[in-house]
Every structure is written in structure tokens, then in C-alpha cells.
């Protein structure tokens, strides 16, 4: 980046959150939100690559129509592992727990989260849950899919279903506590002058996400608990022979798991708003509309769970109501895309690595969002339900959306977190590889689904092979694209240029403190007297 500028007058801060102490205990018992964010960053990365390994195995197997790489039991366990690890241990915690943890207290001008001990507890709950799930996978695994549909999961599946459910249950509390912490921090810890209308959009998005975490996660925890109860003691909750209803599980599960999609994508939208504003040098277009649309998505997201059940025997009118409501989620999402695009107009645009991820996000999220219309519309939903079309659609949202947002955010705030700059060329090359690899992996799956290939098939009719080969080839490229940042980011820790407090000349409180920030974030309590993204008031600096 050519615009790097070392302010001569920047205070030389001797002590930062990384160099205050070095022993293992000071990390494992830290109450510093920044260190907890870093702990999360290391662990979600671990789970991401474990889940990614499973994905690569699945794509290798699907390169041929026949079952040749592994046994069917193994394949079923592999896609379950992929789903469980990616959804519960990467996508949900990724942005709120890593970037949210690190940035929200600094962005609101606070010393720490409202409840630092609960914050540390969240990470331990996450690690306990994650370890239990990994143990359940290593010692046999389970083959229910990440959706745990009854009565298969409660009566028929063999494998470590109970153990995995206990792990996810415990991890859920980590999510609830993180949500609670963010909500209280945003309400009570804002610096003087930082009104709601001046909050960065990243904070707004994580605030909306936290509401979903606090309201939704208990429901899925109870639901998975009920599956355990039914498996252990044969209580008739989902078993129709005992007066239960297997469809009840789907209602309860999707009541959380549909909003969970917004837990994954809303924080990514928050990241994108920050990146677009910074690298266009403009206040985000329609700030209020972008902020409110996050809350609207969080609210409407709770009313659309039934669209996962259009073919499970729902009444015609029930299906029509859920379809109708589902279209309302499309509106605030569209509003965001239009506002981001409009922000570029008459901006001063730099194609930095984070910006490339951000623009890639808009493109992929647009496709993911628009293909959501196929799913919300009843007439087309029936045909594409449970096919690869659905797989493609939600990967465009979760991988094209959330992971692009996460990587964009990591690249943007990496200098803040570590105090070092990475190699821009390597960053740009990897962003392009991820974008191309992603599209080659998932675009063919839209067609594959429409011609009828069901999801979770270990082997398939021959005429589906060409599209599957394209998808598998794309997955290899995508995997390579994800490994690259791992290498050059780690390399930058030792060899990267010193970043200075504000390498991007961005606005926002996090850029007004040193990089890495001091243990209590600011040497003096900050006072805010302007709105977010006041780039038009910023002093022009020589290029």
C-alpha cells in the first residue's frame, strides 16, 4: 500500500497488549478482550482448516460418480463433520468472537468488554464444546448431518450423537455470553459523545447479531437437549409412536438455525461497511438505512423458519405465509447492497487487499441473495429443495459472504492486531484466487441442483459428473487460496513492516490508538465529537 504514512508525532508507546507479558498463563487466564480475540482467532482458524479438510475429502470423492475414495459410512460422517465444525465452530463465532471481541470495546472507546470474566468464560465454553465434538469425531464420529433431523438422530443413527450434541450445547452458552457481553458493552460503555447515530456500522451489525444470539441460541440448545433425552430414555417428544412429532424438531431447529444464518452474515456486512467507507474515503451512503437494515434482518429472520419445511407436509396456507415473510428478508439485504455500491460513486477508491475482499463480497452476496428468491418462491422451492441448488445458495451466503467478510476484516485490522503489515501483492493474489476458486466450486452446483442431484449423496448418476468435476477442481483452487493468507500473515508477524497506528488513514477510534493497542486500549479516555466515517473532514495527507 502506497499510502502508508508514519506520523512523525505519533506517541511512542512502549507497552502494548502483546508485550506486557509472555507466559502461557498470562494468555490462558487473560481478561483482556484483545487477547481473548486473538485466542479465538487461533482456534477458529484451527476449526476452519479441519472443516475445510473434510470439504476437500468430500469434493475429491465426488469427482467420480462411484464410491471409490471412502466407504459410505465414512462419507456420511465426513459431511456431518464438515457441517458441524464449519457452522457451530467457525462461521458463528468467527466475526463476533474474533473481530467483535477485539474491536468493539476499542470502537466504542472502552477499556474492555462489560464483563471481562464472562468473556474469558465464553472462550472456555467454546473450547470445551469444541474439544468434546472433536473427541466424538475422532472416536467414531456421527452421521446425522449438521441438521440432526429426527427421528433419524433420535432413534436410528449410530455413532456418537449424544456426545456431539453435548459439545454443541456447551458451545451454545459461549455464544449466548458473547452476545450478552456485546449488547451490554454497546449500551453502557460508549465513550462520551459517541451517540448511537455515531456508532460504526460494524458495531451496529454485531449488536443486531448479538440480539439473535441471545434470543435464538437457547432454543437450539433446548432442542438438541430434547434429542439427547429422547435418545437416552425414549421419551416421546419426536417419536410419533409415543405421541411425539418428528416435524416438531424441524420447527424448533430452524427457529434458531435460520436466524443463525444472519448470525453468520450480519457481522460480515458490518465489516464490509467499514472497508467500503475507508477505501472509498466516503461516509457510507445511507448510514441510517444500513444500520436499521441490520436490525430489520435480525427481526424478520425470526419469522421465516418455515421456509425450510415447504415439502415436509406443511399446510398450503402455512407455506404461503412463510414464503411471503421470507421475501421481506430480501429487502434490507438489497438496501445494503445498493448503499455500498452507491458509496463508491464519486469516492476515491483504492484496490487494497481488504477492498478486494469487500468488492468480492458484494458480488458473491448479490448472487447468493438473489438465488435466495428461488428458495423463497414456493413454485421453484419444491423442485430445488434438498438439492445442490440449496448447497450452492447457502455457500454463496456463508462462504462468499461470511468468509469473504471475515478475511477482508482480518486483512484490514491485521496491522492493528499485530502491529505489522503483510505483503500487499500476496494479499491481492490470494483474494483473486479465492474469488475465482469460489465461483468455480459453487456456481456449477446451481445447475447440478436444478437438474436434480440431491444433497448428501455419496454416489450419483453419471450424467452429473461433468459439473461435479468442475466443482471439485474449483475446491482445490479455493483451498489453495485459503492456505495463502495463513502463510503470508504468519510470515508478516516477524518480517512485516511496522504498521504504525493508522496505515490506511481510516477514521474510527481503533485507528486513534497505537498498533498494537496498549493493554487498556487508550492512554487517555477518548471523547467523540463527530459522526463515523467523517472522511470529508479528515486532513488530506500526502500520498
Amino acid at each position: 500500500m502506497t499510502a502508508i504514512n508514519y506520523p512523525e508525532s505519533a506517541p511512542v508507546v512502549e507497552e502494548n497488549y502483546l508485550n506486557v507479558s509472555y507466559d502461557v498463563k498470562s494468555w490462558l487466564l487473560t481478561l483482556d478482550h484483545k487477547r481473548i480475540g486473538v485466542l479465538y482467532m487461533i482456534t477458529v482458524t484451527l476449526f476452519f482448516f479441519l472443516g475445510g479438510f473434510a470439504a476437500i475429502m468430500l469434493r475429491l470423492e465426488l469427482a467420480t460418480p462411484k464410491a471409490d475414495l471412502m466407504q459410505t459410512e465414512m462419507y456420511n460422517r465426513m459431511f456431518t463433520m464438515h457441517g458441524v465444525l464449519m457452522v457451530f465452530f467457525f462461521l458463528i463465532p468467527a466475526i463476533p468472537s474474533v473481530l467483535g471481541n477485539f474491536l468493539i470495546p476499542i470502537m466504542v472507546g472502552a477499556k474492555d468488554m462489560a464483563f471481562p470474566r464472562i468473556n474469558l468464560l465464553s472462550w472456555y465454553l467454546y473450547m470445551t464444546g469444541g474439544t468434546i465434538v472433536l473427541v466424538s469425531i475422532i472416536f467414531g464420529g456421527l452421521d446425522t448431518g449438521w441438521t440432526f433431523y429426527t427421528p433419524y438422530s433420535s432413534q436410528f443413527a449410530i455413532g456418537n450423537v449424544i456426545l456431539a450434541l453435548v459439545g454443541i450445547f456447551i458451545n451454545g452458552f459461549g455464544s449466548i455470553f458473547t452476545g450478552l457481553n456485546i449488547i451490554v458493552t454497546v449500551h453502557k460503555m460508549r465513550a462520551p459523545g459517541l451517540t448511537w447515530g455515531r456508532l460504526p456500522l460494524f458495531v451496529w451489525a454485531n449488536y443486531a447479531t448479538s440480539l439473535i444470539m441471545v434470543l435464538g441460541t437457547p432454543v437450539v440448545a433446548i432442542t438438541l437437549g430434547l434429542v439427547v433425552v429422547e435418545r437416552l430414555w425414549g421419551v416421546g417428544i419426536f417419536d410419533y409412536r409415543l405421541g411425539g412429532d418428528p416435524i416438531l424438531f424441524q420447527h424448533l431447529f430452524w427457529f434458531y438455525s435460520h436466524p443463525a444464518v444472519y448470525i453468520m452474515v450480519l457481522p460480515a456486512m458490518g465489516v464490509i461497511s467499514e472497508l467500503i467507507a475507508c477505501f472509498s474515503r466516503r461516509r457510507i451512503f445511507g448510514y441510517e438505512f444500513v444500520a436499521i437494515s441490520s436490525l430489520a434482518i435480525a427481526f424478520v429472520g425470526f419469522l421465516v423458519w418455515g421456509h425450510h419445511m415447504f415439502v415436509s407436509g406443511q399446510s398450503i396456507y402455512g407455506a404461503m405465509i412463510f414464503s411471503f415473510l421470507s421475501f421481506f428478508v430480501a429487502i434490507p439485504s438489497a438496501v445494503k447492497v445498493f448503499n455500498w455500491t452507491a458509496t463508491l460513486y464519486k469516492g476515491s477508491i483504492v484496490w487494497s487487499t481488504p477492498m478486494m475482499y469487500a468488492l468480492g463480497f458484494i458480488g458473491l452476496f448479490t448472487v447468493g441473495g438473489l438465488t435466495g428468491l428461488f428458495c423463497a418462491s414456493l413454485g421453484t422451492n419444491i423442485h430445488i429443495h434438498d438439492t445442490y441448488f440449496i448447497i450452492a445458495h447457502f455457500h454463496y451466503i456463508m462462504v462468499g459472504g461470511t468468509i469473504m467478510g471475515y478475511l477482508g476484516g482480518i486483512h484490514f485490522w491485521w496491522p492493528k492486531i499485530t502491529g505489522r503489515l503483510y505483503n500487499e501483492t500476496a494479499g491481492k493474489v490470494s483474494a483473486v484466487i479465492v474469488f475465482l476458486g469460489f465461483n468455480l466450486t459453487f456456481f456449477p452446483q446451481f445447475i447440478l441442483g436444478y437438474v436434480g442431484m440431491p444433497r448428501r449423496y455419496h454416489f450419483y448418476p453419471e450424467e452429473f459428473q461433468l459439473l461435479n468435476v468442475m466443482s471439485s477442481a474449483g475446491a482445490t483452487i479455493l483451498g489453495f487460496g485459503y492456505l495463502m493468507p495463513l502463510v503470508y500473515l504468519i510470515w508478516s508477524l516477524r518480517h512485516g513492516k511496522i504498521a504504525g497506528p493508522n496505515p490506511w488513514q481510516a477514521t474510527g477510534l481503533e485507528w486513534e490508538t497505537s498498533s498494537p493497542p496498549p493493554p487498556e486500549n487508550f492512554l487517555e479516555k477518548p471523547v467523540v465529537n463527530h459522526e463515523a466515517y467523517n472522511y470529508h473532514e479528515q486532513e488530506p495527507t500526502p500520498n
Binding site: Y149, R241, G286, F328, I331, S348, S377, R456, E463, H536
Partner: protein, 324 residues
């Protein structure tokens, strides 16, 4: 079955072209907005690329624009909703006189029974040009009947009947998939739908003896369990029952309501007879606890047969003799 590469599956049912028309519209819409956004991003980021550190002007909120791009997508969404709902209602409302085929899923096969008695596994033979309704259930976990060429999909849910119909328009063989993950051999739970000319279908059906029909075996079961002993005097008669509205009292609260006598109601009444008690002509419900539950005593296929038999009992003098 056509093994070539294709972008859309064969259109072999009456609904297929309706679904594809909506898909085409949505695809064009997706392409339009994706290209629009992509073009704007590329154009803006080239036109307004950073040339100097001169700051752009302050961004003002443009309410007209905000309202426009809220309302326009809303209108487009509502058009899609109405169009999609229309196609869906058409796929769901079973036309009068549709031929009923029973499909029972189990790990990992489809068991199919035709009204005239012929049974088959993992294959469904249907005549071309005639509405066929599939009545679907499962013996174990949730499965899903998926026929891409018909744009047809319906879950097989244990303990419940689900229904959806189609009219095949083109003879040939088409994929039958299980679309809901159901355990180890989920990918192997596949079969064929074979669409035949009506004449050929009749000939195919006649390859089997008539006493094996659901109706025939249902009558045998009805007699064997002595159902007719009660269902004439102390209990409601079955004649002409199917399709009527009946008054029933809730087994727990005693609240009286009207129910439609359909497959689902008959199934419930056989498995849990005390949950809803029919109201006798004198206005009082029949007593609790007289009819035993048949839960666990009848297989899904036997239940289907008994229901098929009850359905056949029209309110005509000739058939009154069957249930005196």
C-alpha cells in the same frame, strides 16, 4: 433416461413448464441485478480510482433514492411471491378423480402399491396424461420422494400421510431420488419412474391377480379384526363415511368440533381411537375405551389397505350389505 449433459432436467410433467417459466424469470432477474451491480462496481472503482489525496465530498443521505430501492425490490418480490404461490397451489390442489398410488419409504427402498393391486419396489409405473396423486408415508425415518423430471418433491414422514400430484406428459424413464438424508444408503435409495401410454399401463397392471388389491386385502383385514361387529350398531357405520364432515368430541376435553374424514383422520382413528370420539346421532359421543388401539398391530401397508377399503364403502344399498 437421457444421459447427456443438460442445464434443466427433462420436462415430463404438466407442472414442469410452469416451474421452469418461473425459474427462467428469476434467472433473468438474478442475471440483470448481478450484472448491474458488478458493472457499477467496476465502473465506479475505475472512474473514481484514487488519483490524489483530495477528499471526496461529504455523503448526504438521499431519501428519494433510499425509498426507491426499498420499494422497487418490494414490488418485484411480491410479484415473485404471487407467481410462485400460484404454481405451488396448482401443484398442491389434487384434481378430482386423480389416480391414487401409495408410496411407503423405508431404509433404503421405496415400496409402491397401485390401486388395482400391483406392488413394486423402487419403480413407479404411471400412465401418461392422467393425474396421479402419490400418498406417501414412511416406516422409519423421514425420506423424500423426488422426481426432478416432474419438478415433484414430497417428504415421507413417519406417522403421517403427505400428498402431492402430477400428470406425466411424456413417456420414458425418469429418476426417482430420496431427497431427505435417511442414513447410510441414502444415495442408494433411488429408483425409476416409468411413464407408459395408458393402454400399456393397463396391460402392465393386469399382470397381477386382483385379490391382492389394497381394497381386497383391506376387506380381509376388516373382517379378520371383526371391525364390522361394532361399526354398525354401537359404533358409527363406515358406509359413505369417507369424504364427509363428521362431528367428533375431543377425547380429553370433550370439546365438539367438525372434522373432514380423510386418510389422515382414518389413520388417527385406527391408531388412537380415543383421541377423538365420533358423536352418535343422539348428540352424545360414543363411549371412550371401547375400541382398542391398533398401534403396533398393523403395518403401514395394512393401514393403507384398510383405509382403501373404508374409502370404497359408498352409501349405496348394494354395499350396505357389506357392513350391515
Amino acid at each position: 433416461m437421457d444421459k447427456g449433459f443438460r442445464f434443466i432436467p427433462e420436462q415430463a410433467s404438466e407442472a414442469a413448464s410452469q416451474v421452469d417459466a418461473l425459474t427462467l424469470f428469476l434467472t433473468l432477474l438474478t442475471a440483470f441485478f448481478t450484472i448491474l451491480i458488478a458493472a457499477l462496481i467496476i465502473y465506479f472503482s475505475w472512474k473514481y480510482r484514487r488519483k490524489s489525496e483530495v477528499r471526496p465530498a461529504e455523503t448526504k443521505t438521499n431519501y428519494t433514492l433510499e425509498i426507491a430501492w426499498t420499494v422497487i425490490p418490494l414490488i418485484i418480490s411480491m410479484v415473485i411471491f404471487v407467481w410462485g404461490a400460484k404454481v405451488f397451489v396448482h401443484m398442491k390442489r389434487v384434481p378430482e378423480g386423480a389416480m391414487e398410488i401409495y408410496v411407503v419409504g423405508r431404509q433404503w427402498m421405496w415400496k409402491v402399491q397401485h390401486p388395482e393391486g400391483r406392488r413394486e419396489i423402487n419403480e413407479i409405473h404411471v400412465p401418461r396424461g392422467r393425474p396421479v396423486v402419490l400418498t406417501i408415508t414412511s416406516e422409519d425415518v423421514i425420506h423424500s420422494v423426488g422426481i426432478p423430471a416432474f419438478r415433484f418433491k414430497m417428504d415421507a414422514v413417519p406417522g403421517k400421510y403427505t400428498q402431492q400430484w402430477f400428470t406425466a406428459t411424456k413417456t420414458g424413464e425418469y429418476h426417482l431420488f430420496c431427497d431427505q438424508y435417511c442414513g447410510t444408503q441414502h444415495a442408494g435409495m433411488v429408483g425409476k419412474v416409468i411413464v407408459m401410454e395408458p393402454g400399456e399401463y393397463e396391460a402392465w397392471l393386469n399382470g397381477v391377480k386382483a385379490d391382492d388389491t389394497p381394497l381386497g386385502s383391506g376387506k380381509a383385514l376388516f373382517d379378520a379384526y371383526g371391525c364390522a361387529v361394532c361399526h354398525s350398531a354401537q359404533a358409527p357405520s363406515m358406509s359413505g363415511l369417507y369424504g364427509r364432515k363428521e362431528r367428533v368430541a375431543d377425547g380429553g376435553t370433550g370439546k365438539i368440533e367438525d372434522v373432514q374424514v380423510n386418510d389422515e383422520y382414518l389413520r388417527r382413528s385406527i391408531l388412537d381411537p380415543n383421541d377423538q370420539l365420533a358423536v352418535a346421532p343422539d348428540g352424545k359421543p360414543y363411549a371412550r375405551g371401547i375400541m382398542p388401539s391398533f398401534r403396533g398391530r398393523l403395518t403401514e401397508e395394512q393401514l393403507i389397505s384398510i383405509i382403501a377399503y373404508i374409502k370404497s364403502l359408498k352409501n349405496t344399498p348394494a354395499q350396505r350389505e357389506v357392513v350391515p
